[in-house]
Symmetry: C2
């Protein structure tokens, strides 16, 4: 009998904690437990799962650390919104990485969003186009009111991504934007930037609404190239030092 190879990561590695993972992840991801829902107390859950509380806690804690759950003493354990646990783990992967990888992230974002804009021009429903316009109105209002346009900016780009009808890429964009959010925050506070962003968004919107994919791509590309330039300025100004806690 040939000596069996040692599996690098064994498939049937079925520890109790891991089994609890799969259960918990399934509940969260499939939506049995929705965002904001409160889980049964640890002492109940471990009875349901038929494992000791310590084992369950390891799974529960792990889920909390990756951003799927949030437990508060004296209160309970709650399900986090999807965007949380999508952005956190990837954040860690880029933790040690500063200047060069910021450029890479921006490039990746520009590349994906450019293509999404093109797809959106081909595939967007009327409703989705309306939602893009809403984001523009929201930004316009924010400028009038003198408040931050950061949220409206995010909404615009996510609306475009949604209109492209590809959830994989939409998630990727959301991810990359979350990572760069720190720097974008500074960017949109710079003088005259808000108005410029608004007009770029309007150009992109017009191209999508009138079903001109290549125009939409060009407009998005131009917009993100400008953003890239501004962010580089911002990073230089703020010393490029990463803020300690991006988990907001």
């Amino acid at each position: 009998m040939p000596r069996s190879l040692k599996p690098v990561s064994a498939l049937p590695r079925t520890t109790l904690t891991e089994a609890a993972f799969e259960q918990l992840i399934a509940y969260v991801v499939k939506g049995t437990w929705k965002a904001g829902d409160r889980l049964p107390p640890e002492r109940e859950l471990c009875q349901q799962f038929g494992i000791a509380r310590t084992s369950l806690r390891e799974a529960l804690k792990a889920m909390e650390l990756v951003g799927m759950l949030d437990s508060r003493v004296g209160d309970g354990t709650f399900v986090c919104p999807r965007s949380e646990f999508l952005s956190r783990p990837l954040l860690w992967a880029f933790t040690g990485t500063d200047h060069e990888e910021l450029a890479e992230i921006m490039e990746a974002r520009a590349l994906v969003e450019e293509n999404l804009a093109g797809l959106a021009a081909e595939r967007a429903s009327e409703e989705e186009i309306a939602r893009i316009k809403e984001a523009i109105t929201q930004m316009s209002n924010a400028i009038s009111a003198g408040t931050s346009i950061l949220e409206a900016d995010m909404n615009f780009h996510l609306a475009v991504a949604a209109a492209a009808h590809n959830d994989v890429l939409r998630n990727a964009v959301q991810l990359l934007r979350n990572i760069t959010r720190q720097w974008l925050k500074y960017k949109v506070q710079m003088p005259n930037v808000a108005a410029s962003v608004l007009s770029r968004h309007e150009a992109i919107y017009r191209a999508i609404a009138s079903r001109r994919p290549s125009a939409a791509r060009r407009a998005m590309r131009k917009h993100l190239e400008e953003t890239q330039q501004l962010v580089i300025q911002v990073v230089k100004k703020h010393g490029g030092s990463r803020e300690p806690s991006p988990y907001v």
Copy 2:
């Protein structure tokens, strides 16, 4: 004194487990512990950290969940290669949406790889071009030997991605390819497919080696469109049933 607001996700929520978790991440990400390294035993580590073994274990389990560490009973805990710990969290994002998911993943992959091929034609070093050629030779040998071309196929696309000099996108490609690996496996077993793939790869290689970005993009696009068609056939044939354990 005004009653303090309850923070939705507290920033300085400093539990011992969380502190240990951040330490562990830092060690892995900064490279203090490299891929394949073995960690000190739990009982030593928890002394170093000054916490109980239970608390440390919760952090270790979280690391394992995101794919940064791998614990084996009787052996020890080891650091996983970097490529591993990017795939799990993204997998969760996709498990919620099943139906058109495969098509979306393929589309995303095609889109990213098309652009990477273009970038590779602009940026590849001689060494990187040589590595692409190596992958082609490897596939040629595999065909002659009658063995699977799956590995050579992966190597080729990763070599192209590496030559594009954007680690973020390279990781994304690796991720998406890992996810579709199940289906690609069937594809490359179909008759005549291997030879066809090889000639497509050669075309892409020539375009990159001769620094023609748009030709490289076209060639990659064509190749992946063919792949997409074949995979759709394969899925129909195999019933499209998802295999149970994507955590490979």
